[in-house]
């Protein structure tokens, strides 16, 4: 049956590293589970049981190609990796992360949608997939190498055309923010899933596929690709045709969109043997910052038009490129510089010049080099840094109690270090409230899959950020009406914000599952800047994924059903994993509140001291979701409506135990 599938491969590879065995099973139906993120959640629910820790053999590391990966769909070269994440705070959490590159497509060409890895190898190994030939190989000679050298060695052994995901020393040593790395700078950077791979003694996954991705309706697919290409080139962000240039490269197979990825020469001071550096918004953090001319700082101005000069990262224009490559090579996410530079910089500004006897020489790039290596190898204080910022702060308590307080004193608002995502979002209302709600109900830095609403933010124009509904630009009101059903969604405050947040959560799951880029989907075109009226239907085609999915797979689906109930089903199942395995409930959702509060502020830029307005927003979000307001758990009716009967029974038992 599986060889008749179109769009997706129809096969899932199960790899038991303890037993050294593999098995192929059928991939679940995309009309019910959409694709990668849904498939991963289903495995998480079925196989990652309560009591399992992120580094236990019983934890599963699940890698799935997007349903549209390798179909020719614009930007569709992405894969989703999910597992019980060691980076979750205060407990491990089920988390998913995505990356571009060529691996997802190669996996499809090898005939698989998903690799479900569990167990623990006795000695370091790598997984080799050459179409149907699957083997687990000895990787003792690769253990300890960086991700670049590992990839080069494996390409020498298995051919230049194979695609590789590998961990560096950080993953081997279970650093909580270790990556799974692919090519120069594609990475599963969020969730610390590199440590999960390391705990399984799995150094790398090598894939070579020479098959094909069948397309149900080739001509319709070509037309859909052309249509979506035209629309994404006039979309919300980075509009226009890609810029040609010797340094402009796509980060991902099939990415036809304009972006700011750049390939630049690396001086290679650290002898990594890599002549290039691929930069994007994340990879540039080591280079940008106050000392760097033309540094790109995080935006902007507050609602009163005042410049919000953020505490800049310590950028290193000369050494930054090499520090970026070193971070990659060690298998650490480049976001660490953005978060830790702010944290350590704030401490130093408070007069704290050392922690546990180690001086904070954060203006010295060589200090950062040693810092990275100490983390990757868990040497000295690096062992504590490797636990992640929240746990480090809990242990050393070098400054204010709440991490968020480091930034409140700088006049910002944002989600601080919540689940160790980015440091802050300097958005006017209602964007920061949306951010707060997203973070409340998520398990990681959620922004990478939910840029959509934030991309509307620049339409305000920061200096003229509206204080009243009358000030909201007409074009923004029109987009709000088309996407969210009400202009009020663009007003300052929290009106309709539960609808906005849920819409973008569903969009994120759909995008992740399809394997398309968050920066381009949903496809929304800009109304004219002068505010002149245009028909709502010209704002964009928010069903672009559906057009592509139907042409590629031949599966008949209602376009609206991709978000509800399909994406909603995945969201609820992920919530149920968290409830069952990690005791997720409303009190943990409300843990974001201190990060958004500033009791002295009464001008709408922060939550009030009692945070009543946020709790009310959370109530409305729960109600819209079909979740109860006490625990924030999906109701029995909602789970059964979504066809999640097994989850309904489990949650019912847990409710009984909790006597709720």
């Amino acid at each position: 049956m599986s060889d008749l599938r179109c769009g997706y491969a129809g096969r899932t590879l199960k790899v038991d590293l303890s037993a050294g065995t593999t098995e192929t099973v059928e991939t679940p139906d995309p009309t019910r589970w959409l694709g990668s993120r849904g498939w991963n959640a289903l495995i998480g629910w079925d196989h990652v049981l309560p009591g399992v820790g992120p580094y236990d053999a019983e934890n599963h590391l699940v890698l799935s190609a997007g349903t549209l990966a390798g179909t020719g769909a614009p930007t569709a070269g992405r894969m989703t990796v999910s597992s019980l994440s060691p980076r979750g705070y205060p407990t491990p959490m089920w988390a998913s992360a995505t990356m571009g590159g060529y691996l997802a497509t190669e996996l499809k060409l090898a005939g698989f949608d998903t690799i479900d890895i569990y167990g623990q190898a006795n000695t370091p190994c790598y997984l080799l997939i050459e179409n149907d030939a699957i083997s687990v190989r000895d990787a003792r000679e690769l253990w300890g190498l960086g991700v670049y050298q590992t990839q080069r060695r494996l390409k020498e052994a298995h051919g230049a055309d194979c695609q590789i995901a590998a961990i560096g020393p950080a993953g081997e040593n279970r650093v909580r923010f270790a990556t799974i790395h692919h090519r120069l700078s594609n990475a599963i950077g969020n969730g610390g899933l590199g440590g999960v791979m390391g705990s399984k003694n799995l150094k790398a996954i090598v894939v070579r596929g020479t098959g094909r991705v069948r397309i149900a309706h080739p001509q319709r697919m070509l037309e859909a690709i052309q249509f979506v290409n035209q629309r994404i080139s006039t979309g919300l962000y980075y509009t226009g045709r890609p810029e040609p240039g010797p340094d402009v490269r796509a980060c991902s197979f099939g990415c036809t969109a304009r972006c700011h990825t750049r390939l630049r020469r690396s001086p290679d001071r650290y002898g990594l043997g890599v002549p290039w550096l691929m930069t994007s918004c994340v990879d540039g953090v080591w280079m940008r910052g106050e000392p760097a001319p033309g540094a790109m700082l995080y935006q902007g101005r507050d609602v009163h038009g005042q410049e919000l000069a953020i505490r800049s990262t310590r950028g290193f224009p000369e050494e930054g490129a090499d520090l970026t490559n070193l971070t990659n090579d060690l298998g650490i996410t480049n976001w660490v510089h953005h978060t830790w530079s702010h944290y350590l910089g704030a401490l130093r500004d408070m007069g704290i010049t050392e922690i546990a006897g180690q001086p904070l020489d954060i203006d010295d790039p060589d200090w950062w080099r040693r810092w990275l290596e100490d983390i990757a190898y868990r040497r000295g204080l690096g062992d504590d840094y490797a636990e992640g910022l929240s746990r480090f702060h809990d242990k050393h308590q070098p400054g204010p109690r709440y991490l968020a307080d480091f930034f409140e004193d700088a006049g910002s608002r944002g989600h601080g270090w919540h689940r160790e995502g980015r440091t802050m979002e300097r958005h006017p209302s209602p964007f920061w409230e949306h951010s707060a709600l997203l973070y409340a109900v998520s398990t990681r830095d959620v922004t990478p899959s939910t840029h959509g609403f934030f991309f509307l933010n620049p339409l305000y124009g920061y200096p003229e950020a509206p204080l009243t509904p009358e000030d909201v630009p007409a074009r923004l009101k029109q987009i709000a009406r088309v996407l969210y059903g009400s202009e009020e969604a663009a007003y300052p405050g929290t009106a309709c914000l539960e609808t906005v947040t849920m819409y973008h959560q569903h969009c994120a799951i759909l995008k992740d599952s399809m394997g398309v880029c968050d920066w381009k989907y949903p496809v929304v075109a800009l109304p004219p800047e002068d505010g002149s009226p245009v028909p709502d239907e010209t704002i964009g085609n928010v069903n672009a994924e559906w057009l592509l999915l139907e042409a590629a797979t031949g599966l008949e689906m209602d376009p609206d059903a991709l978000r509800r109930p399909a994406a909603e089903r995945v969201l609820n199942l992920e919530r149920c994993i968290e409830i069952r395995n990690n005791g997720r409930s409303r009190p943990l959702d409300e843990a974001v509140i201190p990060h958004y509060q500033w009791s002295d502020k009464t001008d709408g830029t922060h939550l009030s001291a009692d945070a009543d307005e946020f709790r009310d927003l959370l109530d409305r979000y729960y109600a819209l979701s079909g979740w109860d307001s006490t625990l924030g758990w999906p109701s029995d009716a909602k789970l059964r409506e979504l066809g999640l009967d097994s989850a309904a029974e489990t949650i019912a038992q847990l409710r009984q135990s909790a006597s709720v």
Partner: protein, 163 residues
């Protein structure tokens, strides 16, 4: 055309066309590969594509390179074909392979200085770029290239670039 042109060009009524690729401008998204395979074969696979782009980010130089038929004026592939399966398209001058006549001997690939013709993964015949000469809208790879005209275009053998 001149009186000294090779006999196999006698049916060509226009200047020979071919793809023009710029490694500097190419983003390596490989949309060209996918559009080619989808258009010619109804499926996506590099092994079915008549143009291939390689992006080797670990290389010291030539990070991006493409492999495709240059539609050579002297076309050694045509001379090597034992069945006469290779002919010039009268409008574009592209070297076409007649699937009915091709026996998949791959002598064309051996004769090609760059080994461009590939064996079809399923059928016993050679495949190579024919500029989608049967399509009035032109080569699919160029139409779907996000940087058409800069990264990928159609040119004539004398170097004149057309959209």
């Amino acid at each position: 055309m001149t009186s000294t042109q090779p006999a196999h060009l006698s049916a060509v009524t226009a200047a020979i066309q071919r793809l023009a690729f710029s490694a500097d401008a190419c983003r390596a998204c490989r949309a060209c590969e996918m559009a080619c395979a989808l258009t010619r074969e109804g499926a996506v696979s590099p092994s079915l594509a008549r143009i291939r782009v390689r992006f080797d980010e670990f290389a010291a130089a030539s990070v991006v390179a493409a492999s495709y038929c240059l539609q050579c004026g002297d076309a050694p592939c045509m001379g090597a074909c034992p069945t006469g399966a290779m002919t010039r398209h009268p409008r574009t001058g592209a070297v076409m392979i007649d699937a009915e006549l091709c026996i998949g001997c791959m002598r064309c690939a051996k004769a090609c200085p760059w080994g461009v013709p590939q064996r079809h993964p399923d059928r016993r015949l050679a495949i190579k770029c024919d500029l989608c000469s049967d399509l009035p809208e032109g080569p699919a790879c160029v139409r779907y290239c996000p940087l058409a005209g800069e990264a990928l275009a159609v040119e004539t053998l004398d170097g004149e670039v057309g959209a």
